[in-house]
């Protein structure tokens, strides 16, 4: 049930959504397509589902060439960001839809729908209309509907994007457990790196219509292939011409081999974490995060003289352009 995507290209007018993308999605795993919005990840997912057609390249699902197959023939389950519920049908009828189309016997449909509703914890809601459900419940209904036809692959397009933070977290954990039970090859699109790192077995980072890197969450976090992946997966700061995670910097109160001297210019406490801004002698502003205990052990104060270095074996990336502002990229730091 693997998916092989080779040399897929797609344009919308002048806009290149996908540029010669090749990805191999392993069978039975939970794979995240991660990237900023407009980067082409949803387009790739829709091409796998047959809802969009690639201009060039080839899609193979489970060893079968699906490039020209209509969505009806691909046997994929698709879950949309905004649920795409059949508003006039009850939850039961929504879930039963694919089975009714396939003209399965009535008692078989009833049994299967009961199973699925139990799987997504919606047993008591079968007779309700989608409008009478909360967002999280609607998305679980959509998932049950997609699973009803026993798809070879399950595709989810920003499935939790329309939900509030708390429900999103719950559903994320729940999707992970569900996948451990059902084992269907699953691909989901997200722009939230925490979501991808937490849930996925495999992550494909897509940006500007190209694949930046493919690998396990640990691979990507510890061995980012380039500056983009480094920046996208978590907070970064810059020391000299190296990008590094703020928690991979060591602060010393006296000089050590290969340290850079500076002053602590700002100390903020964010929950369990202490964020120290250091201005180096070259005028670079570097952000360092410490745990509370590390901070207390150092006895740091504002304006204290400090010496910085990158902890051994930490992932770093050389910065391509040096005229960028050197402090932590605010959007990424905030999203952590």
């Amino acid at each position: 049930m693997s998916i092989e995507i080779s040399h897929v290209g797609k344009r919308f007018g002048d806009f290149v959504a996908l540029d010669n993308v090749s990805v191999s999605i392993p069978s039975g795993r939970l794979t995240a397509l991660l990237g900023p919005s407009g980067g082409g990840k949803s387009t790739l997912l829709r091409i796998i589902a047959g809802l969009e057609h690639a201009d060039t390249g080839r899609i193979e699902i489970d060893g079968v060439d699906a490039t020209r197959l209509p969505p009806q023939k691909r046997n994929v389950g698709f879950v949309f960001q905004h649920y795409a519920a059949f508003k006039h049908l009850s939850v039961r009828r929504n879930v039963a839809f694919g089975l009714e189309i396939r003209k399965r016997p009535k008692d078989e449909i009833d049994r299967r729908v009961d199973e699925l509703l139990a799987l997504v914890h919606l047993q008591q809601f079968g007779e309700r209309l989608p409008a009478q459900l909360s967002g999280g419940q609607r998305q679980r209904m959509a998932l049950a509907r997609a699973l009803a036809v026993e798809p070879t692959v399950l595709l989810l397009d920003e499935p939790f994007g329309a939900l509030d933070a708390k429900v999103r977290k719950e559903l994320r954990d729940w999707l992970r457990r569900l996948h451990d039970e059902v084992h269907v090859t699953t691909v989901f699109v997200t722009h939230d790196q925490a979501e991808a790192l937490e849930v996925a077995d495999e992550i494909v980072v897509i940006n500007d219509g190209r694949v930046e890197q493919t690998g396990s969450p640990d691979d990507l976090y510890d061995r980012p292939a380039n500056e983009f992946v480094m920046r996208f997966l978590g907070p970064v700061t810059q020391l000299d011409d190296q990008l590094v995670r703020p928690h991979d910097l060591q602060i010393h109160t006296r000089p050590e081999p290969s340290t850079v001297a500076g002053r602590a210019t700002r100390i903020t406490r964010v929950g369990f974490e202490i964020r120290v801004e250091v201005t180096t002698i070259t005028g670079q502003v570097v952000t360092v995060t410490l745990t509370r205990n590390e901070f207390l052990a150092l006895g740091l104060r504002n304006d204290a003289a400090v010496h910085l270095r990158i902890a051994p074996n930490s992932p770093t990336t050389a910065v391509a352009t040096t005229d960028q502002p050197s402090s932590t990229s605010p959007s990424l730091a905030a999203s952590h």
Partner: protein, 282 residues
């Protein structure tokens, strides 16, 4: 007479139990009073007056007026043609609305505006247009003056916008992803249309159909020139009512009016039942 079904896009299965026994606030009580008074003055009292006039000659008088050969022929022609026209409108109106919403083509904006012309045109002008195009001096060589086709055509002309205009906004609001979801679940185009799109637009189609039927039943100006008003052949109910009044027979006129009213009500109820059934079946 169409107020009961004129709710295009009403959410499906909206059958909440009516809230009863809630005390009205002063403002909402006043609002309800004004609405009732308004509705009574404009609708209920005139309708009752017609019913009273119709019953002036007693049941026998009413029955005689209605079963009069010439009168019943006009009622049959009017209602029959109106039903036929409504059926055509259901299909063509939905199709036109579909094209306007889903397709992009040259001249779409112009078509958008032109759709309303039959509605905006004074009906007698419409009648004149039809007469000059399909009358004895037709530049096309098509002469349908003094035939039942003229009645049909005139009805069709004036009722064209109703289904289009009620269905179009509902169609535009449909979630295209619901159709994609249906496709990925294995539904072909026809199944998706019948089971996903149609149930959503059916209330709007029913509302448009009711409007179109009601308009056709009462139509006068657009057909009076072309149809020739031949008794037993092309005379419609509204023309018959006018001639009854002119012949100083208001009871007969009122009787015909009451029959048209009853039929219109029945059609609206039937449309509502059909619409609910289609929506539930999905």
């Amino acid at each position: 007479m169409t107020s009961t079904t004129l709710v295009p896009g009403r959410p499906a299965g909206n059958r909440r139990p009516a809230r009863t026994g809630l005390p009205l606030t002063r403002a909402s009580g006043l609002g309800l009073g004004v609405a009732t008074l308004w509705f009574s003055l404009l609708v209920l009292i005139p309708l009752s007056a017609v019913a009273v006039t119709a019953s002036g000659g007693g049941w026998d008088g009413f029955w005689q007026a209605v079963t009069d050969a010439q009168t019943s022929a006009t009622i049959r022609l009017t209602v029959g043609t109106a039903l036929l026209v409504t059926l055509v409108n259901i299909v063509m109106g939905t199709l036109i609305a579909w094209v306007l919403v889903r397709d992009r083509f040259f001249g779409k904006r112009a078509l958008e505006v032109l759709i309303d012309v039959p509605f905006a045109l004074p009906t007698i002008v419409a009648g004149l247009v039809l007469l000059s195009l399909y009358g004895p001096n037709s530049p096309l060589g098509v002469n349908i003056a003094n035939t039942r086709i003229a009645v049909f055509l005139a009805f069709l002309f004036v009722t064209l916008p109703f289904v289009v205009r009620t269905v179009q906004p509902v169609l535009a609001e449909l979630d295209p992803q619901a159709e994609e979801a249906a496709a990925s679940l294995g539904a072909g185009r026809y199944t998706t249309f019948r089971r996903i799109i149609l149930p959503s637009v059916t209330p709007a189609i029913a509302a448009g159909a009711a409007l179109s039927f009601a308009r056709a039943v009462g139509e006068y100006g657009s057909l009076v020139l072309l149809s020739g008003n031949l008794p037993m052949r092309t005379e419609v109910a509204s023309v018959r009512i006018l001639s009854s009044i002119e012949n100083d027979n208001p009871d007969s006129a009122a009787a015909v009016a009451v029959v048209l009213l009853a039929i219109s009500l029945a059609v609206i109820v039937v449309l509502d039942v059909i619409q609910r059934r289609v929506m539930r079946r999905g």
